[in-house]
Symmetry: D2
Subunit: 298 residues, 4 copies
Amino acid sequence: PPIEGVDVSATLGRNSYGKSGVRLMKVTRTPDRHEVRDVTVAIQFEGDFEAVHTSGDNQHVLPTDTMKNAVYALARRRPREEIESFARALVAHFFVDNPHVSRIAVDVMENGWERMSVGGWPHHHAFMRSGEEKRTASARGTRDGVAIEAGLADLVVMKTSGSGFSGFMRDGYTTLADTTDRIFATDIRANWSYGNVDVSYALCRARARQALLDAFAEHDSHSVQHTLYAMGEAALEAVPEMVEIRLTLPNRHHLLVDLERFGLDNQNEIFVPMAEPFGLIEGVVRRGGVRPTLSVMP
Amino acid sequence: PPIEGVDVSATLGRNSYGKSGVRLMKVTRTPDRHEVRDVTVAIQFEGDFEAVHTSGDNQHVLPTDTMKNAVYALARRRPREEIESFARALVAHFFVDNPHVSRIAVDVMENGWERMSVGGWPHHHAFMRSGEEKRTASARGTRDGVAIEAGLADLVVMKTSGSGFSGFMRDGYTTLADTTDRIFATDIRANWSYGNVDVSYALCRARARQALLDAFAEHDSHSVQHTLYAMGEAALEAVPEMVEIRLTLPNRHHLLVDLERFGLDNQNEIFVPMAEPFGLIEGVVRRGGVRPTLSVMP
Amino acid sequence: PPIEGVDVSATLGRNSYGKSGVRLMKVTRTPDRHEVRDVTVAIQFEGDFEAVHTSGDNQHVLPTDTMKNAVYALARRRPREEIESFARALVAHFFVDNPHVSRIAVDVMENGWERMSVGGWPHHHAFMRSGEEKRTASARGTRDGVAIEAGLADLVVMKTSGSGFSGFMRDGYTTLADTTDRIFATDIRANWSYGNVDVSYALCRARARQALLDAFAEHDSHSVQHTLYAMGEAALEAVPEMVEIRLTLPNRHHLLVDLERFGLDNQNEIFVPMAEPFGLIEGVVRRGGVRPTLSVMP
Amino acid sequence: PPIEGVDVSATLGRNSYGKSGVRLMKVTRTPDRHEVRDVTVAIQFEGDFEAVHTSGDNQHVLPTDTMKNAVYALARRRPREEIESFARALVAHFFVDNPHVSRIAVDVMENGWERMSVGGWPHHHAFMRSGEEKRTASARGTRDGVAIEAGLADLVVMKTSGSGFSGFMRDGYTTLADTTDRIFATDIRANWSYGNVDVSYALCRARARQALLDAFAEHDSHSVQHTLYAMGEAALEAVPEMVEIRLTLPNRHHLLVDLERFGLDNQNEIFVPMAEPFGLIEGVVRRGGVRPTLSVMP
């Protein structure tokens, strides 16, 4: 129903399309041993896709099914490589024959598998899933260059000492008491960018991860924010190639159970882990005097 | 290990903190009948929180536990209202006593419950969950004003005719065949903004939802993008108060099963629904000549 | 390391194998309108499979991949039918050429889709998912006969009055107070058997479901157990063909929020829905003087 | 509507009630280091509960809320112990003051946390979740005794060689080809019983787990069933106290991608992991000449 003074014309704003959930298990076979890489890939295109939206003209649309096929073919063509390189290669591949595309985003998530040991020896071809921790990588490219982010997700950690929360602001709805000894449990999600795309991804990743874990364990925490910043600082110090890091730390609360009702004390021993609600703390820590730059495409 | 020429100083970038997963069931009791509202609330603060990160000074930090308490107290204080109003009220509440906060985001998600019928009559106090569809609302506020977004998520729809995909681009990895008759299944996620915060939220929502569903059902679809745009146009036409709408439409593929191997035909009758991979199509449709504006805070 | 007196010989006990998660979307096309059936099938065989386990001899093993193919072929061959009939037909099919199989279990789960309305008219080919409720059916067959169970799952219901829990047993760990007015929320899971396999499945299912819902809504509940029994009684009364019914009713607790701390009352208005922990109440209600019987195979 | 000849009387069949999802984090603090135990407990009672069902009389019903409280109190009272002992202690506790209860089932599931290392040293109080693998224990008790089962779940393993499937039965729907080299991936679920309740639970568990993993890795597999049996045999051999073991092994299929279409070979290198459908193989392996026995209650 047209209303006077209301413009009923519609225009297309930002839009993208692609394929998500492309599952790939890659087995590399050498006489000595097998290696496995278990990844999930997502690809998104942006560009001049006005006609497909407004008039149903598909002539510039590469099917998302083709994107999926390309993932498998490139995985076959390319030697063992880190997920950061694979993401970057996919971006480069898709720019070649898609003149209408101006931006490409590729996200890769890797599940970990550790080699089994049998009788004390690493096994040739048997593996065990190494937890819910994921390695992540993303490449965001334009015709001018590509930016790489590396990261990790679902790295679940906990410390049972060295964490307090006190001296905070109070209002009429504040019932929380000061504490100098609480459980601090979180699922670390970290994403960091490099100033240059040609870094040693595996080495940088290993250093970043260890720095994050060490800082979490060792920090005398006044709050989740306080530890988040210490973790970011530690990662920047351990990995000079890193420009900035974004940390997302849900606060997985553990409530002390009131056992006095049953004539028992509870000296920080018996807790209920709460799934909901949870605190959510997010922050970016950035290297002083440095700015992320897009490098030239390979 | 300090590297020559690498600045090891760290600075805090964008950061936020808050509480997520605050579950609330509100029962309104009148002699005639009960009404229920089942929502999940998330709150995030941004502001001057440098000291909490860098020196562990919590004096400006309102605990996220207090945010949770405020949700319950405000739910009690306020009469029956739409989730858009509740989100807006929470933003306004938190700005009052938190001078260090500059931005507040409140997201509310509502599960639907429909009243049961017994013997053909609506029941006084018994309800059934009405599917996985969620109503969503968000309020994003600064000291200058607040912007409201309404939306819906997990509205799962399918059409078994009126959808094709042909005439698309092909490269060396393209194996998909043209089709003029396929299943089109998706989970609609829609978010739209209003030019003014004082609209009739319930009425606008009902009109937007119906327009989206009607357009999905009736459109002669050449692609998911094509239908996405038609749905956006229809919503803008049905709700003059709407400024723009963002639609996210995963393409839930259904593969035709090859039954010729068993001497059977399969004239678009027997399909395998695939969970992975899935297409992912996203786009914004905007009213011509209008721009979103922040209104003055209530 | 053999220990004296310990028998180290191993023998095979009860075993089964099959295929689960077989997804099927079946579209039936008539000029008037399309109909859809969205099911997930699981099949398990028991029988004489000693050799496959102990010596790796596969000659009597029908691949689970073949079971999957048979689901699609039978779905194509058979006209529109209820999931109970489809489960039964699959059992019958697999007994024909598998002489080593002595027991077959087929479980079918159906997602609901409701036809969309456009402009007040039922649409020809557009559908909406009708919530998380599932229809279930299972057929358990031997060479002598088959037994059919029908059921439903994930039917989420709630009543905000007509439910109390008082006068219960107390011990030293009891802190719960009597209540005569609480929220009673549950996800109904029901499974019932028929004395005869040739009943009108659709009609019986509709009557059973309505009886369960009506009883839940109308019952003056002293406990979940109390209402479970009333629901079972009502179903047996509504469906004479039903022999017994098993109900599983998790008690989805809703905690009253203490608002007195903030100077507010809370007269059963503001609750926190708790995901964990939950009560779990399960029971069978059986028709007097009747016993389930295996009927002769079709 | 009463039908002639149909008995409309209802009787209560088997029934149970209890509490599930009781979450507990227990921290044991010594000067040297902290230890954590992260468990989820479920409790079910069976007994003479006719009156609660049929007449709403709650006088013999211990609230499930009390069961939850008892879990926390017993966790506080008892020193560090294995989950098998804790399950057994809970069964014994609940029999004391509940004369109407005849059977009690307690299930405990434990999440693993591994101690972090910082600078090569085990940390005093920082931990990392060690994957999705769970330890499980259950105690099933009557007034005459209790039986203990131990187990593990969600232990995700894969071997990329040493697995084939050939020489199987074929019918008209069989399209699967013989293979002598495929990926074998599964999530191990194992449950085993002891002939005596006073075994060394931790030692037996460690031996059972290692035997299962070694057998999986080393076995020359002709089928999932073949390896299941070998795993069961190995566990029985490694743990003389074990009477029988039940293994559930979903077959997580990995499909070889057809790359010939793109002029590429694929020598068992590039696979698609499939979530659905999946094979499901289950079997019991039992020690020769031994029968499970219920031991006298502690």
